[in-house]
């Protein structure tokens, strides 16, 4: 498959998956309203927590608010879910393997389609509402913004690699996904720093947790955006995880490919 054909296939897939989200009726927009509500609640809680303090763990309240706002806006890219797990569970993976574009491209473009809808109907409004919520949505500096772009891209790569590893784990363990899904959601939310910035954890826990691959998912790009972290170091760490997990994922995937096809269905 040449590059042109691949791009075309990916675009078509994205469009279809976005269309599938939009297709039914406007009720699904309520989901985004719920996300906004959650964001507003978190912002209020942070204000209360920081009420009588200046800086904690190198972050002031403004930074934490921006951090939380951005985590809300970018909830999807900062915690990639390709839908591979479900597809494995239902045995639908077999039809994916028959598609000429390859598994990763197929899943990622489908995910991108969903993101596009989320971006248009949720992220953008959230960003526009930021002043109303009393949060400064701008990055710490122009340099931070530039680094942030790169960091976000790396975060997505790490996220997709983790998602595929997770899929491989499901196929190997032959276990049902609902149980693992809850665990994964809770663990990722905690360790990636998407809710509580790692720097704000007690006992210097955050210093240790940032070395984990989960830190590359949300904490790194958000820290860079708010100017709360050392950008080159965080980027290097993310790049390392992206490379390592991709290689590892490839290897595991080859090893377990057979089990995946026979799984489910």
């Amino acid at each position: 498959m040449n590059a042109r054909a691949l791009t075309a296939a990916c675009r078509r897939t994205s469009a279809l998956s976005a269309g599938a989200m939009l297709g039914e009726n406007p009720l699904f927009l309520l989901t985004y309203l719920l996300r906004l509500l959650r964001l507003a609640a978190l912002l209020a809680i942070w204000r209360a927590v920081f009420a009588a303090r200046g800086q904690v763990g190198g972050m002031d309240v403004e930074q934490v608010l921006t951090y939380t706002l951005l985590a809300g806006i970018l909830a999807e890219p900062l915690n990639c879910r390709t839908g591979l797990d479900r597809s494995l569970w239902e045995g639908a993976i077999v039809t994916r393997m028959l598609q000429p574009m390859g598994l990763v491209a197929s899943f990622v473009s489908e995910m991108a389609g969903r993101w596009a809808v989320g971006f248009a109907f949720c992220s953008l409004p959230m960003l526009l509402l930021a002043p109303l919520l009393g949060v400064d949505p701008w990055p710490a500096s122009a340099a931070a913004a530039a680094w942030f772009g790169l960091s976000l891209a790396l975060a997505i790569v790490v996220g997709v690699a983790l998602d595929f590893l997770y899929g491989a784990a499901i196929a190997v363990l032959k276990t049902d996904i609902w149980m693992l899904d809850g665990m994964r959601h809770a663990v990722a939310l905690l360790l990636s720093g998407a809710v509580v910035p790692l720097a704000l954890l007690p006992w210097g826990l955050g210093r240790w947790m940032q070395w984990l691959p989960f830190g590359a998912l949300a904490s790194a790009p958000l820290q860079i955006y708010t100017g709360a972290g050392d950008a080159p170091m965080l980027l290097a760490l993310q790049a390392f995880w992206a490379l390592a997990l991709c290689l590892f994922g490839r290897w595991v995937w080859r090893l377990t490919r057979e089990r995946m096809v026979s799984y489910g269905g």
């Binding site: 009720l27 309520l30 719920l34 609640a41 209020a44 149980m179 809850g182 663990v187 509580v196 704000l200």
Partner: protein, 277 residues
């Protein structure tokens, strides 16, 4: 009728036990995952409360109690709500209600029993109770009989509120099968995400929303306020059970309307996933 419910629960407990104990590795794995989920879901707020010495106006111990309460309040709905019974929109939206309709028993009885999996989620009960007892001792909480009664009432109210609320969103699938699946999922997730936070800092509008439309506040925050004396007065103690009763009524009404509609339109998007598996 009660005898039948008990008999069915025994049956489902047997099925659940057989499934968990099918081999040693999955047995260990199951409980490990359960424990990790339980710990991770409260760790964030717990660590925050440690670092900031509470979340104003709640002290650290009060926050710990609140977290424990929220965990325990989820226990019963989770135990009865497996196989997507708690996420009933998935079953309704996927045409799986037909499987219940061929059973010679009322739909509510099927729903009350089919999701029963007592061996699942056990590990979220123990830490929840542990957190509450530990915090209670540090606060010098006096567990007098009236207080225990109020506690039980509020705990039952919180559980019922979650169940009824999940059911309400779930029954929306009678009317909008596809959209409801997504919304219902996010709505229940939001409850889980916010149930561990003290919500006092929120503006009055938000706060009202979180005890009515999206009653995440009823899961732990509001009942704990009353129980820990942050909110005085007998009315506060009765608020959660009352709200839960109202939510239950609304859920029952929606269910009736929904069943009527289902008989008319049926479901044309049958899949077998998330049902008896």
């Amino acid at each position: 009728m009660a005898a039948r419910i008990l008999r069915l629960w025994a049956l489902y407990a047997y099925l659940d036990g057989m499934w968990i104990a099918r081999d040693f590795r999955s047995f260990i794995f199951y409980y490990l995952a359960d424990a990790v989920t339980a710990v991770a879901s409260v760790a964030g707020v717990l660590l925050l409360a440690q670092r900031f010495d509470g979340i104003p106006p709640w002290t650290r111990d009060q926050v710990v109690f609140l977290l424990g309460f929220g965990m325990v309040a989820r226990f019963v709905p989770d135990m009865l709500g497996n196989y997507n019974v708690l996420h009933i929109s998935r079953r309704i939206g996927r045409g799986q209600l037909d499987h219940i309709l061929v059973q010679p028993q009322p739909v509510w009885m099927a729903l009350l029993t089919e999701g029963f999996a007592p061996f699942w989620g056990l590990l979220s009960l123990a830490p929840g109770v542990g957190l509450m007892v530990w915090a209670g001792q540090r606060m010098g909480l006096e567990a007098t009989p009236p207080w225990l009664l109020a506690f039980a009432l509020n705990l039952a109210g919180a559980s019922a509120a979650l169940t009824a609320y999940a059911a309400l969103w779930g029954f929306a699938a009678f009317f909008q099968p596809r959209a409801a699946e997504e919304i219902s999922g996010s709505a229940v997730d939001l409850m889980t995400d916010l149930k561990g936070f003290p919500l006092d800092a929120l503006g009055p509008g938000l706060r009202t929303a979180l005890v009515t439309v999206i009653p995440a506040g009823l899961m732990a925050w509001y009942p704990c306020r009353a129980l820990l004396g942050l909110d005085h007065g007998i009315a506060a103690l009765w608020a959660t059970p009352a709200a839960a009763a109202a939510l239950c009524c609304a859920a029952c009404l929606t269910f009736r309307m929904g069943m009527k509609r289902y008989a008319q339109v049926g479901s044309s998007r049958y899949t077998s996933f998330g049902h008896r598996r």
